[in-house]
Symmetry: C2
Subunit: 309 residues, 2 copies
């Protein structure tokens, strides 16, 4: 059994590879919900949706958001009517989100709705939100406090980051099954997602973080950084703002309490001493995953490390 | 000022003609809401939507429902997810209905939402629901009690009609502005819609019916029946079930308390004595409106009768 902590771009790529090599029932995925928000009567959970669409084989791999080949007629009309429509939601994607909103209206929780949706889309892996309680990521910058969406999508991570907060995390419980899956897993993988705003919200839930710490020996992470640059997204600006070096060493520092093994890019092998100094085993692989072959190869490396094969 | 009572197919055709000849501000339309229902989180008001789309020039004239050239991707996905989706709602059409649902969430009434929608679609005519209270048409048949949708769309009007009821009509108030528009109108036109389930629900609101009775002299109706057949829809089966002759004479009997002039088809001039016996003036015109030219011509006849020109 492999448990994966996931954000919305890097880790889903790796999940494509992992889902080729593992039986779906061997895979549990705990997904960030810190960027969730309501819009036009539907509930947007960017990372859950990308993970679900990835596992269903229908994700748009150009953007790692929404459904491949979707149309946007409803979205365009809603904009013309004056609705905010912060995100472009495709017509098929919207149907899935409307279906989820209707499940909420029937009293279903986010984890129940996610399970039902997975079943309808033929996904057998166990996809769970980190929590059914609402936890929202806010970025405190020199230009003020803003959501991740505003910081990254609207303003292009141009503002100097002072701090990051996870509103609601204090009292949030892990979603049903999350702790059990982490406990039962042969290995826990922290995917190559933004450590601050994709993995950070998951770790902001005390019980999840404590469980990882207790099982440090079986926790592996894949660095989302090569050299001094994030593979994608604003991880660099965020790590820098929090006072961490933008490198796999910075990632190791962020994860030192609960990660036993860190997978770095082959080109970063000079970081080995600094990582091992933190009592983290440094392992090297090609962590850039532009295509399916790389994704399967990295997945195979991880399963070997985790002694699955 | 012309006030029109409208259902969802025949009267909108005539509204196309009327809107060519009248200034929009001279036109008030009171629309049946007896077939309204909620579905997939949106509110469907079939007749309001057809009237609004007709006046906006975007109605699908093949079906007199929805928007011309619309796509159905969201609808198809919702069906696959197991949502009931009783009606095919197009992607653009759905956006408009989502917008309305969001206006309801903000506390807007159906008449307020209709006004806002009309403004956004560039409609200056005064479109009003018959009521902001929920009134629902039920058909009591030998196969049981059912909604109009089930009676007509699902079962093709195959069941013998015993009775028709308008649930909620007892305590329903006319929507704001309806009585004022009827009072102020130089003429009130009952469009060529199904007298039982399109015009019937409007008349089930006591104050509306009483206002029409008080102004019988200025109330004109266009028969929706030619010979012994309804031009479209199940008006025949419904009239028969209620014990009325399926002809313009039956329509005259249904409307005798509040209609001063009835427009019958040219081919029905043998009905003149029976209609005039009810103290209703019988006028003859070509009431079949397969195309735009017929719609404008009938509209012109009506405006002449109403002494508009």
């Amino acid at each position: 059994m492999l448990a994966v902590l996931s954000g919305g771009t890097g880790t889903p790529k790796l999940l494509q590879g992992l889902s080729r090599l593992l039986e779906p029932k061997e895979l549990s995925i705990v997904v960030n919900t810190g960027e969730d928000f309501g819009m036009s009567g539907i509930y947007i959970s960017p990372d859950i949706d990308t993970v679900v669409y990835t596992l269903a084989g229908i994700v748009n791999e150009e953007t790692w958001y929404g459904i491949r080949g979707d149309t946007f007629f409803c979205h365009e009309m809603l904009k013309r009517l004056g609705e905010e429509e912060l995100l472009m939601i495709g017509d098929r994607d919207r149907a899935i989100k409307i279906h989820r909103a209707l499940l909420f209206n029937q009293g279903k929780t986010l984890s129940e709705a996610t399970k039902l949706l997975c079943r309808k889309l033929g996904i057998e892996a166990n996809v769970m939100p980190m929590s059914d309680d609402r936890v929202t990521t806010y970025i405190n910058t020199e230009a003020g406090v803003m959501t991740f969406h505003e910081f990254w999508v609207v303003r292009g991570a141009a503002d100097k980051v002072l701090d990051v907060a996870f509103k609601g995390a204090e009292g949030a419980e892990p979603a049903p099954g999350v702790i059990e899956a982490l406990e039962a897993a042969d290995a826990i993988l922290i995917g190559p997602s933004n450590p601050v705003t994709s993995i950070g919200p998951i770790l902001s839930i005390k019980e999840i973080r404590a469980t990882l710490s207790r099982h440090r020996g079986k926790v592996l992470a894949v660095s989302p950084i090569i050299g001094d640059r994030a593979v994608s997204g604003p991880a660099g600006a965020l790590m820098q703002g929090l006072g961490y070096e933008v490198s796999s060493v910075g990632v190791a520092q962020l994860y030192r309490d609960f990660v036993g093994t860190l997978v770095l890019d082959n080109t970063d092998n000079h970081f080995a001493p600094a990582v091992e100094e933190l009592n983290i085993k440094a392992v090297f692989a090609n962590i850039l995953m532009p295509d399916h072959i790389n994704r399967v190869a990295l997945a195979r490396t991880i399963l070997e490390l985790a002694k699955f094969k």
